[in-house]
Amino acid sequence: MAFPISIASSAGVASPRIVNADNHGKPVIVVHNLRKTYWLGQTPVHALRGVSLEVSPGEFVAVMGPSGSGKSTFMNLIGCLDRPSQGEYLLAGKLVSHMSNQELATVRNRLIGFVFQGFNLLSRASALHNVELPMVYGGLTKELREHRARQALQLVGLGTRMDHLPSQLSGGQQQRVAIARALVNSPSLLLADEPTGNLDSRTSIEVMAILQALNQQGLTIVLVTHEPDIAEYTTRRVTFRDGRLLRDEPVLDPRDAQAEWAALAPQDPERAPQASKERNKAHAGN
């Protein structure tokens, strides 16, 4: 069941500028002079003070910075969960910074896939059902929904656990369900907000290996993290401080999560989900 795939470069050292046929080479994200100001009573809080950035198709960007640096605000804006106070944001060629709530919901549904730190799966729904959900809101037919949900779960290696509830899955497995859910509407952009924040280092490598593999298929990923280790798996590192872009640099020699995982995996092939079960319960989605 090998998927026929085309990769522009060899694994591991993917060029940051893969041409994405769907977007004709135009940047996935264009952000110009983005500002966001909150009001705490009478005091303005400048969360973002003019950020300009471009992300090309096929890039794997790590957004870093200490807390309060504005990276969360940036993620919310990039993820169309919020609107900027000023500035422009083009996502896949669409000006989304001034869209209505309804249009923003459609953009979140079709152009963006979210992966969160706390997995954010629906606790009452099976893995399959969770993955189906974006397609439910997209209005896809039932047959197509089920077919794609199965495909997506097989893709992340959970083909045998489709009917499990999130509470019956380990943290890594839950995050893989969340990744499958993020992929299922074939978004232009995958946004991962601290996807390894709740995972041990082993599982983190597993999740990063999946993200890296997806990126090598041409998927554009923006990942927020505060762990420098994790950023080393990406191809570009963007650092925020005090609401401004501090550094924007390519990762010269990205680590290969797939190779590392391949080296780790045989050590204990029966890595039972029980090992991380207790931890999991704490993070089981709502």
Binding site: N120, Y137, G138, G139, Q151, A152, A209, A213, Q217
Partner: protein, 446 residues
């Protein structure tokens, strides 16, 4: 197994150079085209999501439903009860004849004090004859009413004896169970014959197991031959037991039971109920002339038509309906507030779920519909259970009290209309609240 397919596939893909172009590029899931979206409505999904929500909180949902179903059950039971009472009253009025006017002696005025109606003696048999000659009047029967002890063998029973003309049978729709009604000949010759009601038969003859027809009973020490037994009419709406009666020819009653020229009532049957007002007017004019009543002084007789009785009875039952349904409506409102309360709690509790749904692309209206449908299902469920229980209660009460069990379309449709509107009215606010949640805040909540 833990080594994911994805990674295996990637390495496999690396071994082979790129051969197939882009359709499957992104994440290796086949690319969706815009045509794949918006193919199906989201209502079905919203309904199943709402059902899951209800099922996940079974106990709470059931308790919420309780408020509605008690209210709906009360409404349905109240409707059945009042409709039963109404049907019962209507039945007993129509059993007295629908196109009938009853003339009774009026209130007497003695130096300005008005005595109760019917206490005076003003009507005579001659009045009855005069009325029978009016247009649109088919038959007329004078009535003499006395209460007497009736004796058969060693049984005795106090009952109402009415002296009426032979046509009275058709005026009041009496059917004969055994024997026959007395004849015009019996009337003319003032024969001592009697037609007895079912109750009288039960009291006097049944204990002895004797067939009443042909037997002789004693009324006020006079002998009467029983010629017929009446079919039962059941209990009347106001007049108590209609079957506790003995009918004798009018002439006989006037001569032997009540030695007087005055009579107690005149019943007038019309050719058609629509002439009621005209005939009432004609009777009034005629009797005012015959009784020499001056203009401006009160009449010494009263006219009661069955139409008026029906109207009055209908007014009475509709007031009763409004009263009972009003009380039930209060409990429905309380139930609705219960739904609202629970929905607000539910929205608060599921804030994070709402955040997740919004982040993956649920529209505000999807969230609103999810909660609205949940409220609607809860209240409709309450309506359904309430209707069944209400029907049961109604059936129980009506069969206990001997009222007819009447189900109209209204009493079946109304519970659903009420509970659906309660679901919408009281579910809307929490649903809108859910839809207005800020996704960022919602995702942050626990």
């Amino acid at each position: 197994m833990q080594a994911t397919n994805l990674m295996e596939d990637v390495s496999a893909g690396v071994a082979r150079p790129a051969q197939r172009p882009s359709r499957k590029k992104r994440g290796m899931l086949p690319q969706l085209s815009p045509r794949d979206f918006d193919r199906v409505g989201k209502l079905g999904s919203n309904i199943s999501i709402a059902l899951e929500g209800i099922w996940a909180n079974r106990l709470r949902s059931m308790l919420t439903t309780l408020g509605i179903f008690i209210g709906v059950a009360a409404v349905v039971a109240a409707l059945i009860l009042t409709q039963g009472v109404s049907a019962n009253i209507t039945n007993s009025i129509t059993s007295l004849g629908t196109n009938v006017i009853t003339i009774a002696p009026g209130a007497a005025t003695t130096r300005g004090a008005i005595a109760p109606a019917g206490t005076t003696q003003t009507l005579t048999a001659a009045d009855a004859t005069a009325v029978s000659k009016l247009a649109d009047v088919t038959t007329v029967s004078p009535i003499i009413s006395v209460n007497q002890q009736v004796i058969f063998s060693n049984q005795n029973w106090n009952t109402r004896i009415q002296g009426v003309s032979p046509s009275f049978q058709t005026i009041q729709n009496w059917t004969i169970a055994e024997g026959a009604w007395f004849s015009a000949g019996d009337e003319q010759s003032a024969r001592s014959v009697a037609v007895i009601g079912q109750t009288v038969k039960q009291k006097l003859f049944d204990p002895l197991g004797v067939d009443p027809v042909g037997q002789t009973i004693r009324i006020n020490s006079q002998l009467y031959r029983v010629v017929g037994v009446l079919q039962s009419k059941g209990s009347g709406g106001f007049g108590g037991n209609q079957d506790d009666v003995i009918f004798v020819p009018f002439a006989t009653a006037q001569d032997r039971l009540k030695n007087s020229t005055y009579i107690d009532q005149i019943v007038v049957q019309l050719d058609d109920a629509s002439n009621t007002n005209a005939v009432q007017q004609a009777i009034t004019t005629l009797l005012e002339q015959r009784h020499r009543i001056l203009k401006g002084t009160p009449d010494d007789f009263n006219l009661i038509s069955s139409q008026q009785l029906l109207q009055t009875a209908n007014q009475f039952t509709s007031i009763l309906t409004i009263l009972l349904v009003g009380v039930a409506a209060i409990s429905l409102t309380v139930g609705g507030i219960g739904i609202m309360n629970i929905m607000i709690v539910s929205v608060t509790e599921r804030t994070r779920e709402i955040g997740i749904r919004v982040s993956i692309g649920a529209q505000r209206q999807d969230i609103r519909n999810q909660f609205l449908i949940e409220a609607l299902i809860l209240s409709l469920l309450g309506g359904l259970i309430g209707m069944l229980i209400g029907l049961l209660i109604g059936y129980g009460i009506t069969s206990l009290t001997g009222l007819p069990f009447v189900i109209t379309l209204t009493s079946l449709i109304m519970p659903f209309a009420i509970s659906a509107s309660i679901g919408v009215i009281f579910g809307l606010y929490p649903a809108i609240r859910a839809a207005r949640l800020d996704p960022i805040e919602a995702l942050r909540s626990l």
